[in-house]
Symmetry: none
Subunit: 241 residues, 2 copies
């Protein structure tokens, strides 16, 4: 279970976003990962019909976003600031792939408010803005083309933080696997039928039976499926009309 | 360095995408992670000015996308099919968070083509389409709001695969998984025989066939095993002595 208070300590900051659609898509992106703190620094247009549309069911996150004149103001109450960068800059702020730094983000956010800052679509954060960051993260990308859309970058970073926040409850399929004994009875029945059809050589049935065992063991049959398979075998054994 | 040939074995498939903008955003999303194989099943509009705009510098990926009438056709040459789902479905196709299954996707893709399939924006994949999948993956999300935009979901999955792709040669079990087409021929043959034995009700064969598909998809049959299974079916069809 996520602690809701924890998420409120992580704020996503967009600096001078130029496309309203991206702002809406970012609101949706962070909401799907359980976050609701969005700050906008000098957005070109906000709010805007396009950003409303793209925010989908996360309209409240969009409309509750705080709006600021500069980055300084947006990160004023943050104890730690993480910048995002597309490229490896020759600067003294330490840089990590997001996956390597995400546990640290979560650890810090337990104690104080933390801002994750994204620069404008085309230019990224300015050097002055980079200097305000305690750490930089980047998203590893392909060699030929590395320019993620702004909202996509936010989605990936929010996803990484979410994965670090909550070891996911795994979905356990609701299946009663067949017991070893039930499987043995099935294999005996199968062998019996395959000898009847002439598929198995009665003098050397072993090798094919081993292969069939490997196949069905891999499938991890549940009780219901063993019953289906045995029903099929029984339907063969009835005389043909 | 990534081996380019490896990436070409991973195909991203969008089933009935309704917004051209999403299609373009998906082309860009996969390109930024080093992929270029995109397949579209019955897109509402394609190509479209909006998808071109959103594809940004990945226009070639968008324009080279293959277009298909149905999922069947799109995955015909894939040996393995991974579906994506937003919710916990009560079906017997195994489900994992993408992070837990991504190494397996990369392992499989080293030997054969693999399709990662995304359903329509609002409804997701149909049950029939789910039945064509060997495995399902989902993106863990927040509790209050879990509906990722289609292109965002593709971005996260492509990012996970990119993070898993590594220069280390992994140990690959030497199995040639059967293609989608070979599996379809097997299922047709199985259905034919089960109608003959009277196991399937000719008026309602669907439900049992779905269960059998789930079972055999889970087993991930290789070519040899498909031949064995079809040999068994053929041995039944010979007249009893």
């Amino acid at each position: 279970m996520l602690k809701f208070v924890l998420n409120q300590k992580i704020q996503f900051v967009l600096v001078r976003p130029s496309h309203p659609g991206n702002i809406g898509a970012v609101a949706r992106a962070i909401a799907t990962m359980g976050f609701d703190q969005l700050a906008l620094v000098s957005p070109s247009e906000h709010p805007h019909p396009e950003s409303r549309a793209r925010s989908s069911a996360a309209l409240d996150v969009l409309l509750n976003a705080s709006v600021h004149n500069d980055l300084e103001d947006a990160i004023g109450d943050s104890g730690y600031v993480v910048g995002t960068t597309a490229r490896n800059r020759r600067i003294s702020v330490p840089v990590s792939p997001i996956r390597d730094f995400v546990d640290e983000i979560v650890r810090i956010s337990d104690k104080q408010k933390i801002s994750i800052v994204f620069g404008p679509e085309t230019s990224g954060l300015s050097n002055e803005e980079i200097d305000r960051c305690n750490h930089l993260v980047y998203i590893p990308s392909g060699e030929k083309y590395s320019s993620l859309n702004l909202a996509m970058a936010v989605q990936v970073v929010a996803y990484e933080i979410k994965m670090s926040l909550s070891p996911d409850e795994k979905i356990i399929p609701d299946r009663n696997l067949a017991s070893g004994q039930e499987m043995e009875l099935f294999y005996e029945h199968l062998k019996e039928v395959l000898l009847e059809t002439g598929f198995l050589n009665p003098r050397n049935p072993k090798q094919l039976m081993r292969r069939l065992r490997a196949l069905f063991n891999r499938a991890e049959l549940d009780e219901n499926e063993v019953n289906i398979m045995r029903g099929i075998l029984t339907s063969y054994q009835k005389p043909k009309e």
